[in-house]
Every structure is written in C-alpha cells, then in structure tokens.
Symmetry: D3
Subunit: 331 residues, 6 copies
C-alpha cells in the first residue's frame, strides 16, 4: 500500500509521509569550525524546509553529484523541531517520474508563491483605484492598464531576487504600497490645505498602483522563475513603466498636468540616481510614493532575512538582501 | 484719531491698517538682469509677507542701514495681490516703542508658530501613547517623559532650520510621525503574523513619540528662536534622546528587550551614518520609524520650498532645505 | 553727421565707432585686494568684449542702478588692447530706441551664436547620416527625425549653461560628436572583426546624431536664451530623446535589435547614474557614443574656461563649468 | 616512556616533542596553479604555526572531515624552517582527552594572548592615569572606572577581528594609545600656549584611557573568543563607553566642561560618521585622541598583515584587515 | 607512426590531432542547479579553447589533483562545435616532456599574444611619432625612448589583468590610443583655431605614445606572465612613466612648456584621483589623451567580457573587468 | 613732536601710538540681523588685530573705495579690550610713503610669520636628522637636501592657505612632524621587535623631514605671500618632493630599499587618493609619517579656527580650513 501523500505545507510536526517538492537551495558550505556540509532546502508553494547534509551522511554523495536545484523530487520524510527551527528528515528521495502525475504531482504546486490569493489581490487593487482616484480619465487609465495585463500580473514577482521574489509578489507589494499611498495622500492633503497647487491625491494613488508596472516588460516569467529580458537589461522597468502609461494614455484626454506628475512619480520612485531614478522626487506626490514603496520593499527584505538566517548570535549575518546585520531578538 | 490696529494675519487684501510685525528676512540681492534690491519680509505668528525694496525707493536707505532682522516694527500699510502673490505695501514704518505695549504689542505675537494649538497637539500625542502602547511599563515611561517636559515641548521647534523650524514645530512633526507609525505598525503586524518575534507595535509607537526627544537638550529656545547648546553641538540629539529614555527608565521595570529596541530605534532613526545614525535600522520597528520620520520632514521641506520660492519658471531654485529643484506646477 | 555704425565683431583695434550690443554680463565683484567694481560685458552674435567699471567711474552709478543684463544698448566706443586682453572703452551708451531699427538694429544680431552656419551644419549632419548609416530603415528614421525638427534644431543650444550654450550650439556639438563616432566606429569595427555580433557601425552613427535629441523637449528657446520646460525638469532630455525615437519608429519596420541598441545608447550616453544615465553603457556602441560625447563637451568647457577667465597666475580659477583649475599656459 | 611535553611556544627548531594546541585556522584553498590544499594552523597562547595539507597527504581525510577549528589537540611533531618561514611537521595528532589534564593540559594555555602581562599593563595604565591627570575629580573618575572593571579588562580583546583581537589586546592597545596621548598632549600644550581655553591635557589622557571602554558592553568574552552582545550590535561601544562614563560620573563633582569634552572625545574617536563617529572631533583633545588611536590600530593591522601573509611577490595580498596590499620588503 | 602535430590555433573543426598547449584556466565551479564541475581552458599563442570536466568524467581526478595552471601539456583531441561555442574534446593528455622539444615544442608558443605582429606595431608607432610630432626635440625624445626600450616593449602586456593582458598588449593598446590621439588632435586644433595658446598637437601625440611607458618599470615580465615589481607596487607606472621622460629629457633642449604639458598628460591620464591620477587633466592635451586611452581600455574589456562569458540570458554576468553586465545581443 | 612709533605687536592695551601695518583682511559683511559692515584687519609679523567698520563710520568711504589688502599703512591708534577680544581703534590712517623708511618702516616687518625663529628651527631640524638617522648615506642625503635649500626653506610657508600659511610655516610644521615621527618610530620599533624586516626608524625620520620638500617647487614665494607655480599646479608637491630626493640621490650609494621606502613615504603621506596620495601607505614607515603629518596640520587648522572665529554661540562657524564647527569652550 502506498504511503499517504500529503502536501509538504500541510505536514504536521513529526508526521511521516510522502510529498512532492522542488529542490530550492543547495549550498556547499563549511561550518565556522571548519566542517564541510551541504545546506539544502525543499519547497512547495507555501512552505520551505531545509536541512544540513553532513559529509558522512549516505545522502552526501547523491546530493553532491546528482541533486539539481530547480528539479522536482518525491520524498518520504518528516519535519522535526530542532534548536535551529523545523528541519526535514529524509527517509527516501528520488526524482519525480512521469507517472507521478497520476498521484497528483503538478510542477506549479512547488513554485514559491504569495500567501495571498492573486485574483483577490488584483480585485482589491482595482477596487482601490476605482474608489480613490476621483478624476475620471486618470481613473480609467489606471483601470485600463490593470485590466489589459490581468493575466501576467497574477503571476509576476516583484523582482528576481531581493524582495517579493515569488509568484504573486508583484501584486502583494503593489497592494501594500497603494494602501499606504492612499493613507498618506489623505493625511497630508488634510495637513497642508494651503499648498498651491494642492496635493493631488489621485496622482499619489495612481502612481502607487503603477510605479512598478514596467516589470511586465523588464521580466520574463517562465516555469522556474523570472529572468531579465533584453530590453529589461538595457532600458529597465523604471523607463518601461512610463512607456506603458504613455502608450495607454495616447489619444485619451488625460489632464496633461496629472499625466506629467504620474510619469514623474514613476521614474522618480527609486529616489536617488544610484538607486535607479533618473530624476529625484520633485513633487509631493512622487515623494510620498517613494517612501511607501521603499519601506515595503526594505521591510520585506528584513522579515525574510530574519526568517532565513541560520547563523548564531543576536544578529543575522550580512548575507541578505539588505547587506547588513539584522537583529533577531531575544536579548 | 489713531488708525485701526489689525493683526497682520487678519488684514484683508487691500485693507490699509496699522500692525506690529517682526522683520524676519532681509537679503541683499540682484535680479537676474543685474538690478540690486533688498528682499525683506515681515511676519507675525500666523503670516509672513514680503516685498522687494528697489534701490530708488525712499525705503532703500533705512532698509540698508537701519532695519534689523529680529527686531519689531510698527507698520502702516496694506497687502496687495501681485503676479508674484501677495505683497506688502508700506506707508509708514518705525521700530516698536515701549508705549506700544499699551496698544497691545507683545513680542510673542510675532514668532513663527505652528498653525495648530500646542496644548491640543500635546494632548493628542499623550492620547495616542496611552491608547496605542499596550505594555504598561513602556506606556508609563512614554507618558512620564512627555509630562516631565510638558512646558518646554510646547514651544520647541523641530529644528533650527530645515523643517518645522517654528514654535510648536516639534509637536507638529512628532504628532505626524507618531500617527503614521501607529498606522504602519498596525498594518505590518497584520501582514506578517509569522514574524518571530512578532513586530512590536508598542515599540514603534513609543519610538515615534520619542525619536526626537533629545532636541530638548540639543536646542536652547530663546526669545528670537532656537540655538544649539554646547552639548547639542558636541553630542547631538540622537544620543541625548536615548539618554533621556535611559535616565527615566532607570529603576523602572521595563522589559529589557523592549527598552533595547526603543533605544535602538531612537539612535537609528536617521538611517545612514552620514545622516547622523550611529547604527542603521536593524529591527523592523526602527525601520518603520525611520520612514515615517523622514517622509514627514522631507515633505514639510518641499511644501515650504514651494511656498517660499520666488523665482520664475516651472521649478523652484535649489536654495531650499532639500538643495534641489521642486516642481511648482502649472505646466 | 552720425558716427559710423560698425558691428562690434568687425571693429578694428582702436577704431572708434557706434554699435549695437546686448549687456551679457554684469557682476558685482571685489578685487583680491578689496576694491569693489563691476565686471560687465557686451556682445553681438560673434564677439563679446568686457570691461571693469570702477566705483569712481562716471559709469558706476548708471551701471549699478540702470543697466540690465539682456537689454540692448547703442554704444560709442573702441576696443583697446590691454595686458588683460582686448577691453572696451565706452564713450557713450544709451538703451536702444525704436528708431534704431532704422539704422539697422535687430535683436537677433546680438545673441551668442555658433561660429558656424546652422544650415550648413544641419546639411552636413544629414549628409553623414545618409552616407554612414547603411541600414535603410534606420537611416530613414534618423533622416526623418532631423527633417521633422529642422527649424528648431537650427537655433537650439546644447545646454542652458555649461557647454555649447549658444544659438546653433546643439548642431555644433552633435556634428562634432557624430564625426568622432563615425571615425571610432570604423576603427574599432576593423580592429575587432571577430566580435559576435559585430560592432554595429550604423547604430554608433545614428546614436551620435540622436543622443541629445531630447533637448528639443527639455529646453524652450526664447528671445533671451533657453529655459527648462516643465517636462524637461521632471523627465529630462535623456528619456525624452528616446521618446522621440520611439514615436517616430512606431509603425516603421526598424530591426528591433538595432532599435534597442539605439535606445540604449541614448539613455546610457551620460554613463554614470549620478551623471544622468539610468543604465551604464552595456554595448560597445553605447560606450563609443559616451566617450565621443563626453570629450566634446568637456573640451568645449575647458576652451571656454581658458577664454573667459580673468584671474592671475598660471591656472584659471575654479569658477567654470568644470569646477577645476585649468592651465592657461606660459610657464 | 612518554615523550617529552613541551609548550609549542618553547619548541626549538627541529626539536621533536609532544604539545597541546588549538586548531586556530582551517581553510580550503587552491594554489594559483590550481592545486587544492588545506591551510591549517595550530596555536598556544604565545605562538601560532601553520602548514599546508596537500590532497595526497594521509592527514587530508581527517583534516577535511574531522578536524574542527577551536578544538584542542595533542600533537607530536617539530617545527622546521622552510622558505615560507617556520612550518609544523606533524607526526601524530589526536583530540585532547580528559586524562590530558594530568599532563598539564589547560584550555586557557591555547588562547591567543598579548605578549605582555595583563596585570602589568593594567598597573601601568593606572599609573599613567594617576600621574598625568592633574584634576582630582577627573582622575578619580578614570581610576574608579578602571578598578571597577579590573577583572574583565584583563582578558578583553580590542576587537573580535581586525586589530588586537586577542586576550589582553584591549589593554595593549589602550596602553599604547594613552602613552601617545600623553606625549602629544604635552607637546601641543607647549606649542600653543595662547590657545584659549588652553588644551586640556587631563582630558586627552583620560580619553586615551577610556575611548574604548564601551567594549566591555559591546563584547562578551567566552572560552573561544569574543562575540558581539545584543546591545553591542544595536547600540555599539562608542555610545556604550560614554554610558559608562556618565553612570560613574553621576553624583560626582566633575567639572562639567571637562566631562563634556571627555564624552565628546569618546564618541568622536573614530572621526568620520561612516567609521562610526556620531560627531567628528570638534575639540583639540578629541582630535589628538583620534590620531593616537587610529595609528595604533592601523599599524597593528599592518604588522599582522605582514606576519600572516603567505603569498608570493613584493606585497601581501589584499586579504587582511586593511583590505590593501602591504609591502613586505626586500626589493 | 606518431599522430600529426598541429598547432591548436590551426586545428580545423572536428580534426583530431596532437598539439601542445598550456593550461590557462582551472576553476572549481557549480552549475546554477548545483552540479560541481571544473572549467578548464588550454591555449597556445593564438587560440584558447575550454571545456567542462564533470565529476563523473575519468579526467575529473587528474584534473583536480594534478593539472596545474601555467604548466604545458601534450594533448590529443579535437575541437567540436557545441551550443556553447567551440569545445575541446580530449582523447589523451600528459605533461610536456623534455623530448617534446624535438617535436617542436617551445613554451613561448603557448603564451597569450596579440593578434598583431609586435615588430610591425612597434614600427608603426615609431612612424606615427616621426610623422606627427612636428617639434624636433620633442620628436627626438619620443623616438629615443621607444628605441631605448625596443626589446622589452615587444613583449610587454598593457596590464597583468583587466585589459590587453597578453604579450604585445602594450603595443596594441598604445598604438590604438596614439592613432585616436592623432585624429582628435587634428580635429580639435582645427575646430578651435583661436585657442590661446593653441592646442599642442605634438604633445597630444607624444603623450599618446608615452602615457603608459611606466609599465616598463611597474611590471616584470617572466615566463608565465607579468608581475608587479616592488617599485611598481609602491610608486606605480603613472609616476614611473614621468620618471622615464624626465631622465631621457635631462640635458636635452626640450621646450619646457611642451615638456611640462607632456609630463602632466602622463600623470593625469587616468583622470580621477581614485582611478590613479594625482592631478586631473588641466590642459586640452591631457583631456584628449585621457579619453582616447580610457575608451580603448574599456572597449577591450567589453569585447573580452562578451567573448569569455559562458552564462545564459541576454547579458553577461558581472564577473568581468568592468564589474557590470554587458549585452550579448540577439534580442 | 612726532608721536611715538611702536610696533603693533608691542602696543600695550589702551596705549595710543603710531605704527606701521599691512591691511591683511577686508571683507564686505552683513550681521545676522542684516546690518552691513566691513571687517578689516591690520597686522605686522607677530600680531594681527581687527575691527568692524560700520556704514556710518567716517572710515566707511575710504575703507570701501581706497583701502587695499596687501598695502601698507601708517596708523595712529590703540588696542582696546572688548567683549569680542582686543579691537583696534583708529585715530589716523594713511598709506605708507617713501619717507617712512626713515622712521623704520620695512615691508618685511608686516608679513605674517612663525612665532619661532627660522634659523633656530632650521638648526634644530638639521640636528634631529643628524642624531636620529643612523644610516650614513641616508643621513647625508637628508642633510644635503636641507643645506642645498637653506635660504628658501627659511621663508617658505607650509601652504598658501589652510595650515601654517605664514613665513617660516614650513619649518614649524616640518619640525613638529619630525619630532613626532622620531617619538613614534622609537616607540613602535620597540613594541614590534619581531617585525621582519624591522621598522626602519631612519626612514621614518628622513620622511618626516622631507615629506613636504616638494613645496619648494610647488610654491613661489613673493613679497605678498606664496603662489602656486605652473609646475606646482600641473604636477604638485607630492611628486615634486620625490623628484628632489631622486635627483639628489642620483649617483649616491643609498641603500635602494631605504630609498624606495623613503620615496614611497613621500608620495603616500596624504594617504587617500582624493587627498592627493597616488598610493596609500603600504609600509609601517609611511603610515607613521602620514599620521604625524595629518595631526599636526589639522590641529593647527583647529587652533586657527578657534582664534579667528568671531561668531556667537558655543561653536565656530564652518568657514574655516576644516569646513566644520569647532567647539570654543565655556559650556
């Protein structure tokens, strides 16, 4: 009788079962006291679990010579709590075979994905745009752009590495940013009633939604993740996002002042030239978008750094997207 | 019959009246086409109005040789709309005399001040601390610090220059920052329920309230504005704010982990060493505080740059606290 | 009998005559040993001559109070050689009057202009494009863009300050750059015959012609010189030049690889992010364009710094477009 | 009959003996011409000797799989001179066993330590403080701080890496710095007799002694070396050193001007913000302390770089604490 | 009957033969999906061909343990086209033996070398100097320096790494730079006829020839490539090149102004202090030399990066002399 | 009867007398509250005294229009203590006349000069070189260089601005640096007895004496101060100092290792490329020289900043050679 097949993400602690997973990490490392080992991780869409493979393990040879990052495996094992957090114990492992489809294997079940439902995030983003952008032509432009790219946006990550680098990551990040934009636009419009011309809340929200839209052209999403396209490498999403806006706005009667502020907020959203902004934020709208965006990205990097780090001591190593130590807590 | 005495801030356009004001600005300038003039401004607590004094004006000589920034004057004149915005027209001007007290003159009526009532801002800040900091000892610490410095906080500016450099500016800035901190703490605590240890919302709010508390020691507020103290120059508010927290926390039973995160968020709130932070934000709490603080300061600088600039063209000059062009709008 | 009217640029040394000129410079300076004076310059399209006006000169009062940079004057005087180079001696001066038109005054005769004929430079640029771009659709694109903007290109300066900041300066700079591009493309294509794909000489020449084409949108040329437009300030010529190429290329059958390399060379031509390039040169074509452009701009700045400097000693002051000392020669 | 047991640091060249040592280094390297080997070093408190282990050595397998940095071994072998300097030849090796204590093994005998006696260095530091600080309350403060931390100061290294990273390293570094401070304070006080207020020699010496005192809180010293504490990571020794001074000075009648200059010299001793100083040296006293400190640290790094480097050629590699080539001499 | 011996650079695709080659590269790598392999390359003077050696190949053990970069081998094999370009297939391999000399082996036949004949490049450089330097003493100085170092210049590389790092690389680079210098000097002398003093074309050409002449002292060329000398490390070719010029010019009647401009152009040719220039270009001559030099070096790095890169995707990795992605083409 | 003629530097407080002085400073300033005034200073070799000249003073017109920095005046007046320190009160003032020579006027009596006697400093420097450089050829080289430039060294300043910018300033600075070098060389040679090769104390002292010797060629000293020469501007004292050493060492039998270390210490003494060092200190000797030099220069800047500043508050303005606030003391 075949063992029970349970999704990795649903394994209870200590429960032994069969599951399908992708090898998501394989690093040839040495402990601080000089012992060689491999750090490997397996994941499905919702959960990633790692383990060390020491050089005297029977898995050491196949790990070194055969296991391949990005390939799919059928494993039998369990997840055990250790002082380093949950660790996988492997009883059996073999590459996925065609017949495994019959038992429910599907490659898409193993790709890292947002914890949130993409369709729901898309719908919510659309709803914010419709509710919070008062100017009709601008609102229509934003809605048109979202709807014209509905399908690819569902799967798009926010980046190939660094932050929100998973299926649906684009929507998760953009939704966070847009919500903060809406909050801050409201707050500061109220705080500075005498600003002339007044803070354009519509532009803040529109730019929140569209600041990263150029990722659609910068990245190409395939079976194993996202890659940079040729034009993404040579031009970049900051400019390509503005291209999409200009192309969709052509022939529409968008107020030119609003359109210019929107284009500017997109190209300025990374703030400093060495961070990728051809111009710094020169409008209040662009300034707000930058801060909402940057905080969300940096915070996600920090949360990931804390979750992924396996070193000792009160702080993580510097090997993370922030290139700095992060405090892990527990004085 | 004496002319009507009307506060400068209540003068209707075109209404001629007497009023008291301080000379807040006097610059010896040259137009782009080479003509020399003085740019002068007069203000009371709520309004500042400027005018150019050309070299052929009868006011040119007294302006150059006698008028003194920071001194108080009794003026007769009116405010007229021009293509450069409202401008003062001066009919008469003389320094304030002792007897002017009888007509209601008081130096405090002329200092630049927040548009908001300091007592009300203080009360609101206290209320946020009491409602949003769940941990009792931490909450008490924040409340104690605020109440122990009630009086000086009412008048404190946020800086001697740059941003919120006016009476009550400290409270206005800190209140804005704390509100944003409360919003973001709530949002991100909800977004990352699995973060371990969890995002400490109490610390975010407490650090929002206290991040600039060292200004109490860095600045000395006198009749004509704020100056750096000796210890402010040699040590600085970033460290002195942490000193206040440590002194007030001594002997209290604050959770050491919370206290450490609070101290860290204070010293890291300017993020980069060259911006004044001995350590970069290494906790999610400190990261959020930095962004809430930095946005509020930069946005106030930008709003002020737009309001104060008198140059031509679509953007302001670079002579503002941001050292960059800011867009003034109206394509 | 009226004095002879001779263009400033045709005055022989020591010849006294009447002429029309614009006041191009008026600076309130102090000598190194503390004496105040004005440095003023007058110019017509081809020549600029300056003089100091000391505080005891009868011209000192009108200079300080009345003379206006950008206004036109009728002068009587002569150019005398001094140890500081040619200097103007003014016998009479008054603002231009309407009736001066009858004697041949025309404001356009006073604007700083390239030493070369704009139409001839335009024709030469067109000829290079037609001869040196082998690929027909790309060649047609370049020719179309030039011809569509024939008129404004004739007057456009290369910048508002810094380098080639005069009528026709755009064409002078672009022609220099394009010639160098053609030379270097030829040379390096021959040197690296095995490069795969081969160096695209067409793209180098096309990008030489078009690298600054966005100046058409960044700058607005008026009677008294060029100013930044709103979109120029918020977006910038680097992106706007690529916009023009994309708009003109839309619907044409340009080879996408060539078009991408051309777009990239335009946005990368300033090389470093802090110099305004969203991407660094990532193709050999873009690298060559950057060097041809940068050398021409910097050399013109250096030549101007040497010509304009009036300080003593072996090197110029640092007050020039390069912000550095330049050697004036004559050990 | 058991072999003679001789401390590693007392082995004569070529003498074969048994000794105890800790494995202090184990690196998996490749020669410039591509051969793999391990670089390992063994040390006791006074001497460290290394050797390469080639892949065809019988020690290669245990080295790769078993030897552990930080563990203790009993070895039999000798030290032989080679063209690369002294090298260890290993005849036998096994981990230390409990019974080795009977033969004199003690882990403390293997930790890297200063060549100087800690108690003697402590006494000398105290003597300098007592002789060279004229102001009684300040002198007492310095003496009190030293005596209150007598025990931990004996073992404290100056850093976890980089410079003086060994037992007693703190005292060795601080003693060097304080001596230089005393010399320079004397010299410059004499050179600038008119400085007003005069150079405070007491503060220079006190700050020399206390500039790094925060290491007591930044580092936690354990059996195998020093680690950063949580507060050390989040606050840092620069601020924590000032904390110690403030806590010990509280309630004492220290002249506030002297105390402020001392606090400032501590926080400014690393000079630039990116090197860790919240404020740059703004007093002559702080400036002197910075130079005395920085030279001693950098010189120790350079001496160590020369001693440790094993590459060929006239200069060391860049893999040292200075990240630069250092000249090894012998043109 | 012995197999045919054919130079590696003359092997036809698919032709099996014996040849001599040096092992020029051996890297211990891991594929992106985690499989270990060695990347090795063999070269003679004109051609380099690589191959991967997987861990299950019979060559894996000798590769890891015996093959040595810089040593010479006799191989039997063929070159086969693959999707990664030409790859070597090895049938037999053994280190070169003394008797191989009889079959024509000579170590010099394996060193990487310029594609151009050194003697011919030397002759051409000399010819340019003689034709394009009008001033007799300066021309004689340049010719003397070239002829005095005829032999070492033939073999000198332009650098130990980075660009033109092969036998004859110095001449190839210097010849390219000098040609561009001659072109640009001619062009800009014509463009700025009024520059005072005029652009010194002689100096531009002389500095093109001599800008890197200090490499003769900075580098020491041995059998296996170039190394830094002690004086090269401590002083550097920028200063040492000027030394050579000064030593050769001593006692000659060179115009001091020309000599000073030449010395300056040599020390300023790397433009920025952090790129190695003690002074920035302060003369038009030095500015031109910098651009001609920098473009040639950077372009060679880019061409090499494209040729050497073996990664996937539209751009190369950043592991090249430019530390940046380079576009490989083929959208 | 003529008034008593007393040197300015010997005037007692409140004593009225005649004296000769040079106008050393004349700045057109505005007080913080907007009043215009001139800040002027007069000096003889040993003392400089300033005063403000308000716009209503009878001296205002001649000050503005006639007084010239660098010219000599005969004054009658007194020095009075004020809250801003000693101030000059002027009763009479006229330019020096030829006949004033008869009363003892000599321009040299007015140049700013070291407080120390140049001949005595020169003698002391020579003595240190002779006593502290053990190696005979190196010692002779240093002595020869000093003696060959005896005359010009007496008057040379250390710089045209920034630090020790007065007659004899070179010797004062170099003597300070050399003394510190001798102290540190002794100290660290003793501390690191095992350094191999040992710290070369001779080189440290020789480089202390010679590190700035290139100032002899970089600067040209005239009646009114020092100016940069053409070669000083284009090559700089760092390289020119090494030139002097190489020229004097040619044909002498200096140990090449010592000579190379000396040359290196000279070119590396400013440490970072952006501070003017073509190479960083790569030897212990060069490192020591850098610190001894840099401290002396920065400390003299700080002392001067404190002495010269006339602003209010606890710290000086940033307008000094350090571009930073300096603490003035008196909490």
């Amino acid at each position: 009788m075949p063992a029970l097949i349970v999704p990795l993400s649903e394994l209870a602690d200590g429960q032994e079962a069969d599951f399908f997973a992708v090898l998501s990490e394989k690093q040839d490392l040495t402990t601080r006291d000089g012992k060689p080992y491999f750090r490997v991780s397996f994941r499905d869409a919702k959960r990633e679990v790692g383990l060390p493979i020491w050089s005297d393990s029977p898995l050491a040879a196949p790990c070194r010579n055969e296991w391949t990052v990005g390939e799919f495996y059928k494993l039998r094992g369990s997840i055990e709590q250790s002082k380093f957090g949950p660790q996988l114990e492997i009883r059996k492992i073999r590459p996925v075979e065609p017949s495994d489809r019959d038992e429910g294997f599907d490659p898409a079940m193993c790709l890292a994905a947002s914890r949130f439902d993409p369709e729901q995030m898309f719908a919510e983003l659309l709803a914010i745009a419709e509710e919070r952008i008062g100017d009709k032509p601008l609102r229509q432009l934003v809605v048109d752009i979202l709807e014209a790219h509905h399908e690819p946006l569902l799967a798009l990550p926010a980046a190939t590495r660094n932050h929100h680098a998973f299926v649906g990551g684009y929507l998760e990040h953009v939704l966070n940013v847009t919500r903060t934009c809406a909050y801050l636009a409201e707050k500061y419009a109220e705080l500075y009633p005498d600003l002339e011309p007044p803070l354009d809340k519509d532009v803040v929200v529109a730019a929140g939604v569209l600041h990263d839209i150029g990722k659609l052209r910068e990245l190409s999403v395939g079976a194993t993740g996202a890659e940079y396209t040729a034009s993404g490498s040579l031009i970049g999403h900051v400019l390509q996002g503005r291209d999409i806006v200009r192309e969709m706005a052509a022939g529409q009667s968008i107020d030119p002042e609003k359109l210019l502020r929107l284009e500017h907020a997109i190209i300025a959203h990374q703030r400093l030239p060495e961070w990728g902004a051809p111009k710094p934020p020169m409008t209040p709208e662009a300034l707000i978008v930058h801060y909402a965006d940057d905080l969300d990205a940096k915070l996600q990097m920090m949360v990931t750094a804390i979750a992924d780090d396996t070193s000792d001591g009160p702080v993580t190593s510097k090997r993370n997207a922030l290139y700095q130590h992060v405090y892990r807590g527990g004085v």
